[in-house]
């Protein structure tokens, strides 16, 4: 028995995606920048993929910059836009629950003299648009607020924030890595000037992503070299990966509403049954949350221990973010939501996906119940070791 409930970390490649990629790993191996027919054939795949991704966002193909993943897209958005606007303004605004790809990019810019303002969140992890309004100053170049949180699944009032940014003339970056496949991605409705995506969160390949850059928005390339991606991202394109990404995103957005309803029903059942277990509390917004995210804090257990224990029971789960595993620091997201550090250590994230069924929910709740009983029992048996 094996249940995969870590779709926020990554998803399996869809067969349709693999099929679309295959020719570009074999016969259509050309460099899209080459003049000859082999190159042109690869270029065809790349151009079509760019159109498909643009369509999914309501954007123009020229506004899509392919990257090697969501993190690179976030880095290009923050650093690229901040540097490009640095002659006029050096103030950045970001929420305190952003992914590390954002928070660490902003922190690097701080070293170069840029001034960050971190937006607080409420206990559900939501940014108050009024705080955005007051944080934006005359010299604010960029505001970055994620569409939906990767750890607790809370959805931000993104369009409202976008409108505020527009009114104040600040660029608005949206990290939509977790939202893709679950929420509508219309960049105009969101008011986004920059928007990050990752392929492997939507059943595409790893190592591919994209940054939407609204026409007229300047970003300084973070890798220099050839003129690929309209000089915003040098280097020969990962054609097969990009083709796979485009197909995956298109399928995900087509199936978004129906699959979202199915997942939300499973999620609600998971939340109801998990929170019925002793000392298990929901984290994130009760309603405004991703349809596949069920996250919790569990009193008196170490999240990492619980995830290891569930793994041995055949359940793949996460403490919150795959990127911080092994660190003693509790999640900055949970801390920003006002959860005490001690409680934040006991975090558990279960994220559903295409393959999951009601049976998976049942097995997971049962395994968690078993494991928590064992862990609590063992803690009560704690031997008193005399001090030497």
């Amino acid at each position: 028995m094996s249940v995969y409930l870590d779709h926020a970390a990554t998803t399996p490649l869809r067969p349709e995606v693999l099929e679309a990629m295959q020719p570009y790993l074999t016969e259509h191996f050309g460099n899209p920048s080459s003049i000859h027919g082999t190159g042109r054939r690869a270029r065809l795949g790349l151009d079509e993929a760019r159109e498909m991704v643009a369509r999914a966002l309501g954007a123009k193909p020229r506004e899509i910059v392919f990257t090697a993943g969501g993190t690179e897209a976030d880095n290009l958005a923050i650093k690229g836009a901040a540097w490009a606007a640095s002659a006029r303004s050096r103030e950045l605004v970001a929420s305190s629950v952003e992914h590390k790809a954002i928070t660490n990019s902003v922190a690097i810019m701080e070293r170069f003299g840029f001034r960050p303002t971190w937006l607080p969140v409420d206990r559900y992890g939501r940014v108050d648009p009024a705080d955005v309004e007051s944080a934006i100053g005359e010299h604010t170049s960029l505001v970055s607020v994620m569409y939906a949180n990767n750890e607790v699944g809370t959805i931000q009032p993104t369009a409202e924030i976008g409108a505020i940014c527009r009114r104040h003339g600040a660029l608005f970056h949206v990290d939509a890595v977790q939202a893709a496949g679950a929420l509508a991605l219309d960049v105009d409705a969101l008011g986004a000037d920059l928007l990050s995506l990752s392929a492997h969160k939507v059943y595409g390949p790893k190592g591919v992503g994209a940054l939407f850059v609204r026409q007229g928005t300047a970003v300084l390339a973070q890798s220099s070299g050839g003129s690929q991606e309209r000089q915003r991202r040098a280097g020969t394109e990962n054609v097969a990966g990009i083709v796979g990404f485009a197909v995956a995103l298109e399928l995900a957005q087509q199936e978004r509403v129906a699959e979202g309803e199915r997942l939300a029903a499973l999620r609600d059942r998971l939340i109801t049954e998990m929170t019925a277990l002793p000392a298990v509390a929901l984290t994130g917004h009760p309603l405004e949350r991703l349809p596949n995210n069920a996250s919790f804090v569990i009193e008196g257990v170490e999240g990492g221990d619980l995830v290891a224990a569930l793994d041995l029971e055949g359940i793949a789960a996460s403490t919150g973010s795959a990127c911080t595993t092994g660190s003693a620091e509790p999640s900055h997201v949970l801390l920003a939501m006002g959860i005490e550090p001690e409680a934040a250590h006991g975090s558990l994230r279960l994220t559903l996906g295409r393959g999951n069924t009601e049976e998976d929910v049942r097995l997971t709740v049962e395994a968690t119940r078993r494991v928590l009983e064992r862990m609590r029992g063992a803690r009560e048996r704690r031997p008193e070791v005399a001090s030497v």
């Binding site: 170490e302 221990d305 595993t325 092994g326 064992r374 862990m375 063992a378 070791v385 001090s387 030497v388």
Partner: protein, 362 residues
Amino acid sequence: MSRIVAAMSGGVDSSVAAALLARDAASSGDEVIGVWMRLHPDGGEGYEQSRSCCSPDAADDARRVAQIAGIPFFILNLEREFGTRVIDAFADGYLDGATPNPCQACNQYIKFDELLRRGLAAYGADRVATGHYARVEKAGDRYLLRTAADADKDQTYFLWVLDQDQLAHTVFRLGELIKPEVRRIAADLGLPTAQKPESQEICFVPAGDYRALLAERRGYGGEPGPIVDADGKRVGTHSGYAHYTVGQRHGLGVALGEAVYVREVQPKSNTVVVGRREEVAASQFTVDGRRFVAGEPPAERFTAQVRIRHRAPAVAAEVTLVGDERFVVETAAPVWAPAPGQAAVLYHDDICLGGGRIARSQ
């Protein structure tokens, strides 16, 4: 069927122990889980590569060994516990004028307490295995802690604190092997750790310099004070009492025509007392915080062999219990520099009886 948590440091010994247990499991039906303990934080961005057992390199090595052995691998975060129970205790030992014993503290509080307990709880395991050179033997309803077959590598000096309950849940897979065999097995299995050098230093004290650690953890910068001889005559100046340990010879800057050694460290008066070689030896000393592996002492007064530092020879001694916590050791011949804070470990031949912490002379 039982489930064993193999503690993997990323060194050759624990690598081989885990790999052998995984191999044994094929016939025994046991299940082995590899665990690397994160004991202190990464150096951060651009950190210097460290050779110690706690560096990210060590985690990589441990993971690779677990992959080769075909066992699940988890990282267990014990930074907080290690920080207070081992690193802070180490600093406080020096501030107390003693010579701390961090490897023993790590065994006592981390490997055979936190890991054991959390292993039982989280992984549903029955036992913890380490790469220590020591043996556990069941005799009747008692567990005996015996020295390793490789006398040169024996680590019972750091394991005497284990009690019956801990020994019942402990596996020392290397106890019957000698080090060259362990290296050969590592090479035969293609483990990346086969050629790793022995770790000699304390894992959280880079290059053996603990002064920086005292400053960082406890704000101790060291205040100069007198170095005196046995008669109280000032013979030099030291940089701060906590920078010195009993038996130390180097770094004293004292010239008395012959070699002198630290005989005593007096925190209250910030004084370091030195003496000639024969003045630093003793044939009687008191031991505090006694514990016996069997749960109780063999007798009120008994003969045993005593070891007062790792790899020092065990010497014949008469042991007399005093009160509930202490015993007095009288050795047949003087032993070199019994250092307060270090363990005095008692043996009957290859059986480790227990021990205690050498107390400050009154």
